[in-house]
Symmetry: C2
Subunit: 230 residues, 2 copies
DNA sequence: TCAAAAGTGTTTATTGTACACCCATGG
DNA sequence: CCATGGGTGTACAATAAACACTTTTGA
């Protein structure tokens, strides 16, 4: 019969690192920051912070994201907890990675000017500090998984988008080419999009009809047993 | 330009909780322990422990499992990190859940007698302390996902098993009924099993042929682009 | 001899994949 | 008037699902 004493257990520093995904120019991007403190000052890094006593991890991740981008109510999900002994050379630190999906149209441009941060194409991520490259890899795998099984892709698009944008988004996330007719047929078979009267005239002379994701319709279908698969 | 000082950041207690899956009597089971210390003494709980300064989380999870079961080299995977402020009423504790897949044939029976632990059918899990029921739920979802995409099921079976056992295992994990002809045809199409000359005579008069999973064959196929899907 | 589990293929339905031409329009 | 991206449907292939009878043998 043991009387446990929590007091004698070791405590650790718990960090949060955010893999912030965005989509523009038909490519999937992530937002990186040039670290302005030691260790590893001057190198590219994920956006991070430490967990505070009075918040949970989801809140900490949202706080870290808001500090950098000004955005709240962003789709975020925990990826994994990283705990290698020497992952941070300064001190033993455990880090929980989160990914965030942000709509670049919402993202204040000023922040990009005020901070030493930059969007990188997911295929062109530089060498990052610590184990951050592994975090990006794991986050991307998780994003692929989520995007295949839940309509999370819309988090990365403007409210109104063309079918071509939607297709390019899935191509970027899944790193594959898709046939446009098959893609549209499949998506239409879900019956989750509303076709608007408006057209986007920016990418062609004919113009392309805009669509919006009908979240309410989606939830009703889910209740009736529908499950999104792409 | 900030000079970061890690020292002023809050530190936390980091726990590990293990969802230990086993399979017998054609049912998926989990191993639970009756807690013998406060808080929540006498209630059912996952097996847990605290992270030490000199180990990473995978090592801590393996240690916790070995302390209880005596088993090492067990398939384990991180599930999620739980951080609600008051999840442990005694003190602010963050917990990382791991699931483990153990082959009950390997599991020393003595441990079950020496410890206040018990196998519960996954469909009959009692009320657990803290957020442990949520952990079990998440672990089960992850296990379903893994079992559908990787041949992890064999971790739960003896080295030699019948096709019926394999089918019942998948039925238990996926919580669904499968047609035996379709199941066998599909599994055979993967060409991952070796049919042995031996029969298992314990479940019928006719006897059922035993099979084993050919891990080497599996790895060779994966290299050639094969991907397990069931 | 019969109860109980093992073993085995075919047909049909569903889903995925490949593929090419006309449309609308601004420059 | 033509270059550019938008929009549409059908045939074939692959995979999934439904389904029933014979075999073996210990009790």
């Amino acid at each position: 019969m043991v009387l446990n004493n929590y007091r004698k257990e070791d405590k650790v520093l718990l960090a949060i690192d955010c893999i912030i995904f965005g989509f523009y120019q038909e490519e999937l991007k992530i937002l990186l920051v040039e670290r302005d403190f030691e260790p590893a000052k001057g190198e590219w890094s994920l956006i991070g912070g430490f967990l505070k006593n009075k918040e949970n991890l989801d809140e900490a991740a949202a706080r870290v994201l808001k500090n950098l981008t000004g955005l709240s109510n962003v789709y975020m999900e925990q990826v994994h907890c990283y705990s290698k002994l020497d992952r941070d050379p300064a001190e033993r630190t455990i880090s929980v990675a989160y990914f965030a999906l942000i709509n670049i149209a919402h993202h204040c441009k000023e922040i990009l000017r005020e901070n030493p941060i930059k969007w990188f194409d997911i295929k062109d991520v530089p060498e990052l500090i610590f184990d951050h490259n592994a975090m990006v890899k794991d986050a991307l795998l998780l994003l692929r998984n989520r995007a295949s099984n839940k309509p999370v892709g819309f988090e990365l698009l403007p409210e109104k988008f063309t079918m071509r944008q939607l297709q390019k988004l899935y191509e970027a996330i899944l790193d594959t080419e898709l046939d446009k007719r098959n893609f549209i047929n499949k998506f239409n078979s879900f019956d989750l999009l509303n076709k608007l009267k408006e057209k986007d005239m920016s990418s062609s002379k004919k113009g392309a009809f805009l669509f919006e994701f009908d979240e309410e319709k989606y939830h009703k279908k889910v209740e009736k047993g529908f499950s999104f698969k792409i």
